[in-house]
């Protein structure tokens, strides 16, 4: 994609229910053809934001543009978006074909053309020949696919999905994730997916917006969120994370020197990441970026006491208490790292990491 075409623009959207602020100042763009996820804990306002895009809720402030057109005065049935509802909302009085073809009435198609389009969708969702099935004879995964087909048959500019995999068991979920991603590539429609499952968001999306208590905390690619979380909340929400405190001692050139509280060791990290911060600092580091040593590898290594070792098969997790501060750090190492002997709990160990592993956080 050479030039990014904005499909949905949220301009300073806020939503209040009475005095309760469900959404505060959501302001971002979703691009054409993108698989965009909104990730957040329960009650963070994800569904509300999606319903504002679909037109089921009116924003208290701000404007939604879809493909350049303002949507303020456009009711849901006239918006160029379709939605897959959380519990699928399959019509119980219609069979599979009539469910999928529900939206075709307005197009005024002939019988044959109608049937052709429905069959095409059944093919797409890999349920050919299921048209005459009653909707109560479908499994969870099949219902989900029918809901998808019903929304996609109208070729919307955007497909909105509210936790579409939430009702499925774990195995089916993984399978449907793959299918959903493949489907999005096939049809090339912009997908906006709401989920509280960070793995799902990471696996499916081109970009993810992380929400917390009605605020959009950060929008980035999955790798970006993982490697450069901007805040403690985002860092804690995605993957597992160690939180440390430190003091900026000074800079030499492109590197800054930071002393870690507890261990007392001085580490180096790229200065541009600090954004000019000085003094006390919140830091984060991923467990798998830390290496554990039985002997001090150098003056920069952090000393600590090994408290616990948990063998997880592929990986081993160590819990290390730092110096006198008592702060604990989790280290996740591949099991091959123990070739030179299993460290004893209670013994002193040293921790080291690459200079780029340490991340500063903007808030607490």
């Amino acid at each position: 994609m050479s030039e990014r075409h904005v499909m949905i623009r949220l301009s300073n959207i806020s939503k209040r229910f009475g005095l309760f602020r469900a959404i505060e100042h959501a302001d971002f763009d979703i691009f054409r053809g993108e698989f965009f996820s909104i990730l957040g804990a329960s009650g963070s306002g994800k569904t509300t934001l999606l319903r504002i895009m679909a037109g089921f809720e009116a924003a208290s402030e701000g404007t939604v543009h879809i493909d350049g057109a303002p949507m303020d005065a456009v009711p849901p049935h006239q918006r160029p978006v379709n939605m897959v509802f959380q519990n699928y909302a399959i019509f119980p009085h219609l069979n599979v074909a009539d469910n999928i073809g529900f939206g075709l009435r307005k197009l005024g198609l002939g019988r044959a053309e109608r049937q052709r389009r429905i069959d095409e969708m059944l093919e797409l969702i890999a349920l050919p020949g299921y048209g005459a099935r009653r909707s109560d004879q479908l499994s969870g995964g099949q219902r989900q696919r029918v809901a998808l087909a019903r929304a996609l048959i109208l070729r919307p500019k955007v497909l909105l999905l509210d936790e579409p995999l939430g009702a499925l068991d774990k195995q089916l979920r993984a399978q449907m994730q793959t299918e959903l991603r493949a489907l999005q590539r096939t049809v090339g429609i912009t997908f906006v997916l709401v989920t509280h499952d960070q793995e799902e968001a990471m696996a499916l999306s081109d970009r993810v917006a992380v929400m917390d208590e009605g605020r959009v905390m950060q929008i980035d690619t999955p790798a970006g969120l993982y490697e450069r979380p901007g805040s403690r909340k985002v860092a804690g929400f995605i993957g597992s994370m160690n939180f440390l405190r430190g003091v900026v001692l000074g800079r030499d050139g492109a590197m800054a020197r930071v002393q870690i509280a507890g261990g007392g060791a001085v580490c180096r990290m790229p200065a541009d990441r600090l954004n000019g911060a000085h003094g006390d600092l919140d830091l984060a580091i991923r467990p798998e970026k830390i290496a554990l040593h039985a002997r001090a590898p150098g003056p920069d290594a952090l000393a600590g006491v090994l408290r616990d070792r948990v063998f997880l098969g592929e990986r081993v997790h160590y819990t290390v208490a730092l110096g006198d501060g008592g702060e604990t750090v989790i280290v996740s190492a591949p099991n091959t790292a123990e070739a030179d002997g299993v460290p004893q709990t209670g013994s002193t160990v040293w921790l080291s990491w690459p200079e780029t592993a340490l991340m500063p956080l903007s808030d607490t």
Partner: protein
């Protein structure tokens, strides 16, 4: 063994069974006299019954005023059933789907006619109708019946709306249908069993209603009013019994059908999850 304990707990309770039988006899026993004596050849209700006859039913067919009253009752009943079911659909939808301020009190107020004696409503309506100079007719009877029937209709329909996800209607709107089409293509088919049950039950209530009709009726009589008039003529009494028997059968059939349709629909919806 565990199943034995469970069995014991569900052992039929003698006292309860006796009570149920006693209750049924008390409730339906007297009613059974009506069909019984409608076949008796004698003019008076007296045991033992000397001989049986179908004459009274034969006389019923030739009786012009009976047929007129029947026609009136059907006309009022059908109109009342249609109007109160339509109003009931909208009221039930509003009460279940929208945040109506003061929902509890409103609901109580709507269901009031179920507990207030019809005679109170009858007198009140009569006063109002007189004050407004409206002539008494089948229309005023129908108006009175709608007041009585609306709570039945709402009580039948509210669970239907509670029984399905509002997202169904949103999904239809999302797929391009405006409010009117959403109503016809999704709401009505889903609540159809409730609509049928409401039509049958409200029709039955109106068809059998006496007190309101007594206060609000003009010269055109409904069946219950006609029966009331005939009771004063002893020689016609067995004919009234025959008529009563037919009405009884008809009402039972309708109510039974209404409940069955309502229940079957409910089970279907639950099955569909």
């Amino acid at each position: 063994m565990k199943p034995a304990r469970r069995h014991e707990f569900h052992r039929p309770n003698r006292a309860l069974q006796l009570y149920a039988v006693f209750f049924m006899v008390l409730l339906y026993g007297p009613i059974l006299f009506i069909p019984l004596f409608s076949f008796s050849a004698g003019l008076y209700i007296r045991f033992p019954i000397e001989s049986f006859t179908l004459d009274w039913y034969g006389r019923l067919i030739g009786e012009r005023p009976v047929l007129r009253a029947l026609e009136n009752s059907l006309r009022v009943g059908v109109s009342v059933a249609v109007v109160s079911t339509c109003l009931g659909v909208f009221a039930a939808k509003a009460l279940v789907r929208y945040r109506v301020p003061g929902k509890g009190p409103i609901l109580g107020f709507i269901l009031l006619p179920l507990v207030v004696p019809p005679i109170i409503f009858g007198v009140a309506m009569l006063l109002m109708v007189n004050a407004l100079n409206i002539p008494l007719s089948l229309y005023t009877i129908a108006a009175g019946h709608i007041i009585i029937c609306l709570p039945f209709s709402i009580a039948i329909l509210m669970p239907r709306f509670e029984g399905y996800d509002a997202a169904m209607e949103e999904a239809a709107a999302d797929l391009g249908e405006n409010g009117w089409w959403v109503f016809w293509r999704v709401t009505v088919p889903i609540i159809m069993p409730g609509i049928v049950a409401s039509l049958l039950l409200t029709f039955t209530v109106s068809f059998d209603e006496f007190v309101m009709a007594f206060f609000l009726g003009g010269t055109d009589l409904t069946l219950p009013l006609y029966i009331w008039g005939q009771l004063r003529i002893p020689r016609n009494f067995p004919v009234v019994l025959a008529l009563g028997t037919l009405i009884l059968l008809f009402s039972f059939a309708l109510v039974f059908l209404g409940l069955r349709i309502g229940r079957r629909g409910a089970i279907k919806l639950v099955d569909r999850g």
